[in-house]
């Protein structure tokens, strides 16, 4: 029975963390082999669980009740696993990518003679374990705890090279910014508990189900005096705070580009499968709760669409290969949020999957290039690597075509479905969604442009430096992960060929739709579609809409690609950014957001201690502000106590008279 081994999926990487931490320095390869064995084991178990879900359906079990309350509402705080199509699929993705990242690390870390490898592999193990724990969580509190662990591990890994200047500060920034969002998440968890008395994801008494029934008026829950829909919107937005932080959505995305300071395999893991994916996964996990709140969905869609466009424009001018990829990640997760907000649960999950493959591929490809370039990441120092490293080139090209959304690579199918869902639901009477759709659509050519700008600058043309002329060769441990992911990036779209089905009138090739419908009753894609507040509208017929949408987005993507080809696929490409004029500076500086945040910080804190207090972050500033306001008001409040007893008598009389008047007049005693 595969489900009994589900905890082992989480525990195996944790075991590798323990081994690497305590015995890593005595082991060959600094604990890498233990990590590979553990994640590969988890991968096999995950596939087994996946197949079992396919044959036997979803599964949920409470493993351990670690606290139970007393009194009227006996709350139970539990650990449990929920294996349904969504989590089973995510398990396979996470374990697969973690395994490949471990293998790749052999080439990127061990072969390059890094020190501190046990610490590195311990961090990877714990990171993977936390993410897997998050994925299998069957209640919001457990999810929150692992969510926090994921954040902690990202801090440890981004700051891996802690002796340099950049990484520790980037790690701190990632930690603080995501923590800022997590405060809202925490309040949201408490709100869910006090509203529903439970935080379970599944079951007749789970909070999404209760929320749905409360909105329908079938049950009453404590909504603190608000209308149920309003209150659920507030709670949903609180939880969304954590999502926005972790999934690097506007305005809490600023940590992610800085996080490139970490080792490249870690970036791959963060971007493709773990940390950033956690946010979107959380929304999908509790999608039934968001589905009852049209406002929350609209906000999610808008944040998503805006982030997709906004981040894509910043990716256009970056010089470092990893920076381009970082902004593309933010942008792609924006698409997923757009899909979730637009009622496209399956579309979002689909894009989450395809993105995991092609983004992991691109990062590992970039890592391979960086090895070859002796850790120079500037694309203007590369060029012409195509012939020197063919495996990297072809796989990277596959990933790029997927990212740009070119037919028939995987990214095309998933991005097209995201935009399609936004379009039809927008046409169906939600004009706001059309705005989000427009932003998503505009981001398509920009994405294609920066992607191929990156490809051409890195691999095409003449080598521009000596290093690029004689790149360091990479070994099997780099090429193998690239090849696996390269194949997946090409074919992963086949699991959900909805457009083909609709246009040709075929039945039964939308495997992902069918797959996600196999869950517990209220967690199916089918159910979400019924609950969601949207209706669909079409241009002409359904097939026409599919064709028009796909043609427009593919056309825009090709346009972006061709512009990049025209500008950069030449022997000696030059910077064209000057043509952007003043916009260039704005884009280079990421719309001055970091500067804006610093500016705010400076204004809110006393001038003398700017440097010091900014280092401690905005949160400490708020705390300090509150405490000094409290102390100040305290020193005012105590002045009431003048020491003269006649004043006391007067104030006492005043207080009593005020009470009498207020209650007498409001209560209507004297009528």
């Amino acid at each position: 029975m595969a489900f009994e081994y589900v905890p082992a999926i989480v525990l195996l990487p944790f075991l590798s963390f323990v081994i690497a931490l305590f015995a890593g320095k005595y082991l060959p390869k600094g604990g890498a082999l233990a990590g590979i064995a553990a994640t590969a084991g988890s991968l096999l178990l995950s596939i087994w669980a996946f197949l079992t879900v396919r044959s036997q359906g979803a599964y949920q079990e409470t493993i351990y009740t670690w606290a139970s309350g007393f009194g009227e509402q006996p709350w139970e705080l539990t650990f449990g696993v929920l294996i349904d199509p969504l989590s089973a699929m995510m398990l396979v993705i996470v374990t697969l990518i973690a395994t490949l990242v471990h293998v790749f690390s052999l080439g990127y870390m061990n072969d390059e003679g890094e020190t501190g490898l046990p610490r590195y592999y311990a961090g990877l193990g714990l990171f993977t374990a936390s993410m897997l724990g998050f994925v299998v969580a069957d209640n919001l509190l457990m999810a929150f705890m692992f969510f926090e662990l994921v954040g902690l591990c990202s801090y440890l890994l981004i700051g891996f090279w802690f002796r340099e200047d950049g990484p520790p500060s980037a790690a701190k920034k990632a930690f603080l910014v995501t923590r800022f969002g997590d405060y809202f998440f925490l309040i949201g968890v408490v709100a869910v508990f006090s509203t529903f008395g439970t935080a379970a994801f599944v079951g007749a008494e789970s909070f999404p189900v209760l929320a749905e029934e409360a909105v329908a008026g079938d049950v009453t829950v404590n909504t603190f005096g608000f209308d149920p829909t309003t209150w659920f919107t507030i709670v949903g937005l609180l939880v969304l705070g954590g999502v926005v932080g972790k999934s690097a959505q506007f305005p809490l995305h600023t940590w992610l580009p800085d996080a490139m300071e970490g080792p490249t395999p870690v970036s791959a893991l963060i971007h493709a499968a773990t940390m950033v994916a956690a946010g979107v996964y959380l929304v999908a996990r509790m999608y039934g709760f968001y589905a009852v709140s049209p406002t929350a969905l609209a906000i999610i869609a808008f944040i998503g669409g805006f982030t997709a466009l906004f981040a894509a424009t910043m990716g256009v001018v970056k010089r470092e290969i990893k920076q381009v990829l970082a902004y593309s990640t933010i942008s792609q997760y924006g698409y997923m949020m757009l899909a979730l907000g637009a009622g496209g649960y399956v579309a979002a999950t689909f894009h989450l999957m395809t993105h995991a493959f092609f983004k992991a591929l691109l990062f590992l490809g970039a890592g391979s290039v960086i090895i070859a370039m002796h850790h120079n990441e500037n694309m203007w120092d590369m060029g012409g690597l195509k012939d020197k490293m063919p495996v990297t080139y072809w796989t990277f090209l596959a990933g790029s075509l997927a990212l740009a959304g070119i037919f028939p690579f995987s990214g095309f199918w998933s991005k097209d479905e995201v935009l399609y869902e936004a379009l039809i639901h927008g046409l169906g009477g939600s004009p706001l969604l059309l705005g989000a759709y427009a932003m998503g659509l505009l981001a398509v050519p920009v994405t294609a442009f920066y992607t191929f700008r990156m490809v051409y600058l890195t691999f095409h043309g003449e080598p521009r430096t000596d290093t690029a002329r004689n790149p360091e060769p990479v070994r099997w441990n780099v090429k193998f992960p690239l090849s696996v992911l390269g194949v997946l990036a090409v074919v992963a779209g086949l699991v959900n060929m909805v457009p083909v089905q609709k246009v040709l009138g075929l039945e039964g090739i939308d495997y992902l739709h069918q797959w996600l419908d196999q869950s517990f009753d209220p967690l199916t894609a089918h159910h979400y579609a019924e609950v969601s507040p949207y209706s669909s509208g079409y241009i002409g017929g359904e097939a026409t809409t599919v064709l028009v949408g796909a043609a427009v987005s593919l056309g825009l993507a090709l346009a972006g690609l061709l512009l990049a080809t025209y500008l950069y696929n030449v022997a000696e490409p030059t910077e064209h950014t000057a043509k952007l004029g003043a916009i260039k500076d704005v884009l280079y500086n990421n719309y001055y957001q970091d500067e804006f945040q610093v500016w705010i910080a400076n204004r809110t804190q006393s001038v003398a201690s700017v440097a010091d207090t900014f280092d401690q972050g905005v949160i400490d500033g708020v705390v300090n502000g509150v405490s000094s306001v409290s102390l100040f008001s305290g020193s005012r409040v105590r002045r009431i106590q003048t020491g003269v007893v006649t004043n006391y008598a007067a104030l006492l009389t005043l207080g009593l008279t005020a009470l009498l008047l207020a209650f007498g007049l409001l209560g209507g005693w004297f009528l």
């Binding site: 009194g71 305290g634 020491g643 006391y648 006492l652 207080g655 209560g667 005693w669």
Partner: protein, 515 residues
């Protein structure tokens, strides 16, 4: 199922079936006899400095009263088979009365033991101890009052000795000044209180709590103004006794100027006495007014007072330099927490018993931790070290056990989850939330967070800061003070595992009032 309820179930035949009914007020009688005995001893051997004798007799008397109270509480007196009423219902003995009598007598015993050292060398020890006993007697009577007449008389019986006790150090200007302020505000408040009672009598024609409730049952249409002013004035009288805004002005001065054991006594026992009588009067007599037309929404008035009291007490405490005055303000803040027990009541609300029971349990734990904290101050005053936070620096080097106990009191008062104070606050806030008053709980939680700041300042001074050379005066170990402080600390810690029993007893006693 806790130990208490098991015993309750076993004692199917209540104790007072075997004993005569009047024995139900035995704790009150024991306290009265102890006070009289002290006066007799002083009359037989006048002029003899009998500090030790008097302390011994008083301690014995209050412990005897405590023992009998706990025995009754366990045996189910006034709980199994309904409450026991005496003197034409003017007196009632039930679970709540016994619960609070246990608080008063424990605090009195602690204070008596601590006073033995504090009073060494003073004259008039007999009057001190007898006043203390009579004040305790007044509080015990407040707990069993079932008529507005006995409420008023017993409240004065508790207040009058307190005025004298606060001014006991006749040559100390601070003591005299605080006594004057306490007395003047007290006299004003009792006049307001008496006028309030007279208005309620005017509307209902009776002073017995049950008959007052019956008089209000048909609503107050036409008399709402008279009844409303009367009810709010009575609330004012209780606000004075519990040191709640806007009747709190005496408290910071009285607690700061009084001899520290008396501050402990007043801020713990006297406050609890104000609450027990307020709980009984409002839950028995005035519940019908909450949903009458026009409504006299005294619960909302208490909610307003609770919020203002929590905020004012904690904010003012945060900026004090004098530790004793800081504790005085924190004691006002705690009155605000306990007021939630009245503020969160609703007409026929299913959570009324829980809310009031949680407030009672908080007052029990508060009785120990706050008494202990003030007795620690008494010890420092005894050594003559000084009163500010700076003076307390490094005390742990000289008196580690007492400093450890003080740290326990401070963290428990702040509500850190390792001591009894956490559970009582948690139960209080949780019950307020389940009764629908989440905003009261929110204010409580926020002010508790602030309180951690100033409580931890004491711990920091004691344990982290370096002594600044004023500790050489510490040359003796006052045994009685030490014993009292350590005992209070042990009780505070033991009430962590023992809290469910205390809470269950309190909620059972409170629910009986709403049955």
């Amino acid at each position: 199922m806790s130990a208490v309820s098991i015993v309750n179930a076993a004692a199917a035949a209540p104790l007072q079936v075997v004993l005569p009914e009047w024995t139900a007020i035995a704790p009150v009688l024991i306290l009265a006899l102890t006070g009289l005995l002290l006066l007799t001893i002083d009359a037989i051997w006048p002029g003899r400095n009998g500090n030790t004798t008097f302390a011994f007799v008083s301690a014995l008397g209050s412990l005897a009263a405590l023992t009998v109270t706990v025995w009754y509480l366990v045996a189910g007196t006034g709980q199994v088979g309904g409450s026991i009423t005496l003197f034409s219902e003017a007196i009632v003995v039930d679970g709540m009365a016994l619960f609070f009598t246990a608080i008063f007598t424990s605090v009195a015993a602690l204070v008596v033991v601590a006073s033995h050292d504090y009073l060494a060398g003073h004259e008039n020890a007999a009057s001190y101890y007898s006043l203390l006993m009579f004040a305790t007697l007044g509080m015990a009577l407040m707990a069993v009052s079932n008529s507005l007449a006995t409420v008023f008389v017993s409240l004065e019986m508790a207040s009058l000795p307190s005025y004298a006790l606060v001014g006991f150090l006749k040559k100390n200007r601070g003591s005299v000044e605080s006594s004057l302020k306490y007395f003047l505000i007290g006299a004003l408040s009792s006049a307001v209180f008496a006028f309030g009672i007279s208005l309620v009598y005017a509307v209902t024609g009776s002073l017995l709590l049950s008959e007052v409730a019956a008089g209000f049952d048909d609503g107050v249409a036409g008399f709402a103004g008279v009844a409303g002013i009367g009810v709010l004035m009575i609330a004012g009288g209780f606000a004075y006794k519990t040191a709640s805004v806007p009747f709190h002005f005496w408290a910071p001065e009285a607690y700061e100027g009084a001899p520290a054991p008396i501050s402990a006594f007043l801020s713990s026992a006297s406050k609890a006495a104000g609450f027990v009588v307020a709980f009984r009067v409002f839950s028995t007599s005035f519940m019908p007014l909450l949903d009458a037309t026009p409504a006299i929404d005294w619960a909302l008035a208490f909610a307003v007072l609770a919020v203002v009291t929590m905020v004012l007490g904690n904010f003012a405490a945060a900026t004090q330099e004098n530790v004793k005055r800081m504790l005085a303000y924190s004691s006002i803040g705690h009155a605000g927490y306990a007021l939630i027990g009245l503020a969160a009541l609703t007409a026929g609300g299913p959570h009324n018993g829980d809310v009031m029971g949680a407030a009672m349990a908080h007052l029990l734990i508060y009785g120990f931790m706050n008494t202990g904290a003030f007795l620690f101050i008494a010890m420092v005053e005894y050594w003559g070290v000084g009163r500010t936070f700076e003076d307390y620096a490094g005390l742990s080097t000289k008196a580690p056990f007492a400093s450890l106990a003080m740290a326990v009191f401070m963290f428990s008062l702040a509500g850190l989850p390792v001591f009894g104070g956490f559970f009582s606050k948690y139960a209080l806030f949780a019950s307020a939330v389940s009764a629908g008053f989440w905003w009261l709980a929110a204010v409580g939680a926020i002010t508790s967070a602030l309180s951690l700041y100033y409580y931890s300042r004491v711990v920091k001074a004691l344990w982290i800061e370096q002594p600044n050379g004023n500790l050489d005066a510490i040359d003796s170990k006052p045994t009685g003070l030490y014993a009292a402080v350590i005992f209070a600390a042990v009780a505070t810690v033991l009430l962590l595992p023992g809290f469910p029993i205390a809470l269950e007893t309190a909620e059972a006693a409170a629910s009986a009032l709403f049955a």
